[in-house]
Amino acid sequence: MNLLAKLLGVPSEEYNHWQLHWLSEDTAVILTTLGIVVPAALWFFWTSLNRVSTRARKLLLFALRLGAFTLLLLVLLKPELEFQKSQSLRNSIAVLLDNSESLSIKIKTIADESSRIDLIKNAVDANVAYFESLEKDFNVDYYFFSDDIEKVAAGTVKNTYRAHRPYTDFTRVFDALVERYPAQSLRGVFLFSDGADLTQEVGEISRNMTATLKELGSPVHTLQAGSNVGFKDLAIEAVSAADFGFVQQPARISLTVFASSMGNRNVPLVLKEGDRILVSKIIEVREDTKRFETELEFTPENAGKRIYTISLPKFAGEVIHINNEKELEINVVRDRIRVLHLNGRPSWDSRYLREVLAHNPKVDLLSFFILRNLGDDVQAPVSELSLIPFPSNLLFDDYLSSFDLTIFQNFKYDPFIDKKYLGNIRKYVENGGAFLMIGGELSFQGGGYSRTAIEEILPVSFRDNPRPLVDTAFQPVLNEEFSRHPILRLEKDAELNQGAWRSLPPLQGINIGLFPDKSAQVLVQHIAEKKSAIPILVTGNFGDGRTALLATDSVWNWNFRNVGGGGSGRYFQRFWNNVIDWLIAEPETRRLQLESDKERYRAGEEVLIKFKLLRRNYQPAVNATAQLILKPLKKKSAVKTELKTDEQGGGVFPFLPAAEGFYTATVAADLDGESLTEEIMFSVLQDTAEFEKPLVNETLLKKISEITGGKYHFLNGEDDLSAYRFANPNVQIKSRSWSFSLWDNWWVYGMVVGLLVADWYLRRKSGLS
């Protein structure tokens, strides 16, 4: 060793061991090939030396060739010499203490109602001497574990050990052990647990965990805390539902009800939103079955984040009550915007609007054209017509609330709709629906809407006029005050937007005699002679809904006529999409916009509430006051604060929730004579997963010990572990090393060349070719 080290210039005192490595990856292939080729080549070479006169020269030539072959073999096998400094490693014993929340479950069979964790604490206390004796020969490492391991000093175990972690995953725990203990230095593991691993199926052990346990290579002695004897519990476990649902579309929640020692009884399972019961179901619990899979189906009616509660009754004597109830959040969205479009008669205006609506993938369109009036003579029996009766009862009594937007386009309600249904439209808008009336002969006064509910909900009052529709060509003019209104935004840039409006072809025909209410927003108007302004596009609010009117039936000119003038129908489509978005109050069209930076937070995480306040004309409300109320969903206590908006009309409020659960944030502001309110919900996670599968998993613990060659033990309060013994072989580990390549250096290649040159020279001298 010393001589070799000196020869290679390695300080011998720093290393106590050397080793030869062959770096070639295909050693077997190379050796097999060379084992056949080299002897054959040497034999041919030896026979070619017959003409060499002296035996000594013959042997020398053969030796040279043999030497060259040997060196080539070395180069192919890539030998490397490694000098190592090795030392003995002290073996380890790991003591794993489960600190997941399920360990807090009380054990009914024990008279003093100890919990599972108390059993473990007692066992560890009772065997302190044994563990101390192990420390003479081993490193005894203590770990708390749930879905990861946390090393703790032996002296601090007693004071810091508590059941609080929210999730148990043994596979990840054993993975962490494999990583922490290299070179087989872990000689044994004590696993104190109830075996309630949330990732494992009942009665099974996953392939991943089996592979990890084999890789660990040490016996795992499992010590079971608690048992399932007399374990009485009714629980909701494995709730599965999509994060989002659609308004008016059935949503489904799949779940498993777990029952242990509950006897034979029928149990009601209830789904509620707030205090309102959405659906209930009877679960027939039977003693011989532990799990009952079921589904709850309901239809969300309103968009937004919704909190639903699934609950089972709480029975006396149950070990855990927290798992009888489960809350879940579903973000209910519109799958498509439901639009009811009624046309009094087919026209180019209605045709181009229908095309926009029908081609908008967000819109679910139901349109009706009145193709025939009572006085028309169709010259055919009804059976030869494609006309269908107008379903006014269904539309305006049963299904009106299912529409997000109702459009009357040049539509006279009589005789198709009973006047009483106009009152239904008022209620529909009051409750958050949207209504649009588009002009024409049969609209407004011409449609007989004067002094009806429709006049009430529209932001104008009608003045009777013998000619309510005048045939005038005009260029609509934007009302500068509302230049930032979302409906008018054909281009994002303000100047480009003005240009876009100026580029549109003129319109023709105006419904006159419409006088905007005080709260109406006149967005587009016609400046007639004598500078009087005639409203063309007016928007307003009624109750919780929005309404608008367009006092002309020639907006289609912005599409087809614009194409004829070299433009396109792009602005026409954008205009209508803007109108729809505003009417159905899409979030970006609201004057008070409220959001949180996330939807779900972990306990202790800061929540950021952001809001933006816009004036009636959609200009930022600078330095305006708004009140923010933050409230846990099921509690009365609330955080109230007053906020001022910045120069952009925005505000941010950081908030640290005091506890887990669902919260509502409400911002309210009085602005321009209107009360604006928005509410959002967010959740601070309360993880009760540990109580979804609270049973002791004896099978899993037994299988772990069986696979690893360890022992299974049931903790009964009188536990003596002194019989557990561990092998303690001498394990060497490399602390330092130095490698020297025996092939990749100049003298190996020099020797190969030298031998071949000498071989060639001697062969020439001997008269060989």
Binding site: G344, R345, P346, S347, W348, D349, S350, R351, Y352, R354, E355, A358, L365, L366, S367, F368, F369, I370, L371, R372, N373, D376, D377, V378, Q379, A380, S383, E384, L385, S386, L387, I388, P391, G440, E441, D471, Q508, G509, D553, S554, N559, F560, R561, V563, G564, G565, S568, G569
Partner: protein
């Protein structure tokens, strides 16, 4: 006898007066059907066709019409005020100038509709050949094809399962669709001839072979074509389907 002439004269005056008021009384939003003018051939062999069809549309449907005849060239800047054009003829015509074809292509691609009516009543007429030449230049990648009986044109107002006309040269209509919308329809059956009636209400041309029923079907097809241009595939909406399919199952006229 004098009284008879007096009454007859008054009645005639009344009819004529009413018709002239109606003709002149169109509102800006009433449906107007311009006739396409072109060079060569005969672009107006059925002068009363559109007026007659519009009268039937007004009589039978809720659509308000402007019966005043209008004729214009494709190059007329006003052509985009009228999304429906009628092009009739009975003889070969000069090829459309390239600029006109460009305008017509744009017109049809972006929402316009053209009904071409071969008034010759002959198979493979010179007008038909000229039309087909024009269409192949207009839409070289989109050849003229038969319009299926499932098309909305056959159910946009009347339920139809046959193609009629003054003569029945072809038992089908042909057309071109772009992005799901039929933009151009060609009839070989002289629909204009079947529609035409004079101011006294008499039919201008006899229909060949089919009589009253054939003429009625031709008028119904005219109404349906206009309704299709105005409402597109409205009659294919789900809300109509059950009733329409049931009626089509029961009703199978020819």
């Amino acid at each position: 006898m004098r009284i008879f002439f007096f009454i007859f004269g008054c009645a005639f005056f009344f009819v004529a007066e009413v018709q002239s008021v109606e003709a002149a009384g169109g509102s800006y939003s009433d449906l107007t059907l311009p006739r396409v003018m072109y060079r060569g051939g005969n672009d107006n062999p059925r002068p009363e066709a559109l007026r007659s069809l519009l009268a039937e549309v007004a009589r039978r449907t809720s659509v308000e019409v402007n019966r005043e005849p209008i004729a214009m060239n494709i190059s007329d800047p006003e052509v985009f005020r009228y999304p429906f054009l009628y092009m009739g003829g009975d003889a070969a015509f000069d090829s459309f100038p390239a600029d006109d074809l460009k305008i017509l292509r744009r017109y049809l691609n972006y929402g316009g509709f053209l009904f071409i009516d071969d008034n010759s009543g002959r198979v493979d007429s010179a007008f038909s050949a000229a039309v087909r030449g024009m269409i192949s230049t207009l839409f070289p990648q989109n050849p003229l094809g038969k319009i299926s009986r499932e098309h909305s044109i056959f159910r946009s107002f009347y339920l139809l399962n046959a193609v009629s006309g003054r003569t029945i040269v072809k038992s089908y209509l042909e057309g071109i669709s772009i992005k799901g919308r039929t933009v151009l329809v060609v009839s070989s059956n002289d629909h204009g001839g079947a529609w035409s009636r004079n101011k006294l209400g008499h039919w201008n041309y006899d229909v060949l072979a089919g009589g009253y029923r054939q003429r009625q079907l031709a008028i119904r097809m005219g109404v349906n074509i206009i309704m299709y241009a105005l409402t597109l595939d409205y009659k294919k909406d789900m809300v109509h389907l059950p009733i329409i399919l049931e009626r089509m199952r029961r009703y199978n006229p020819r």
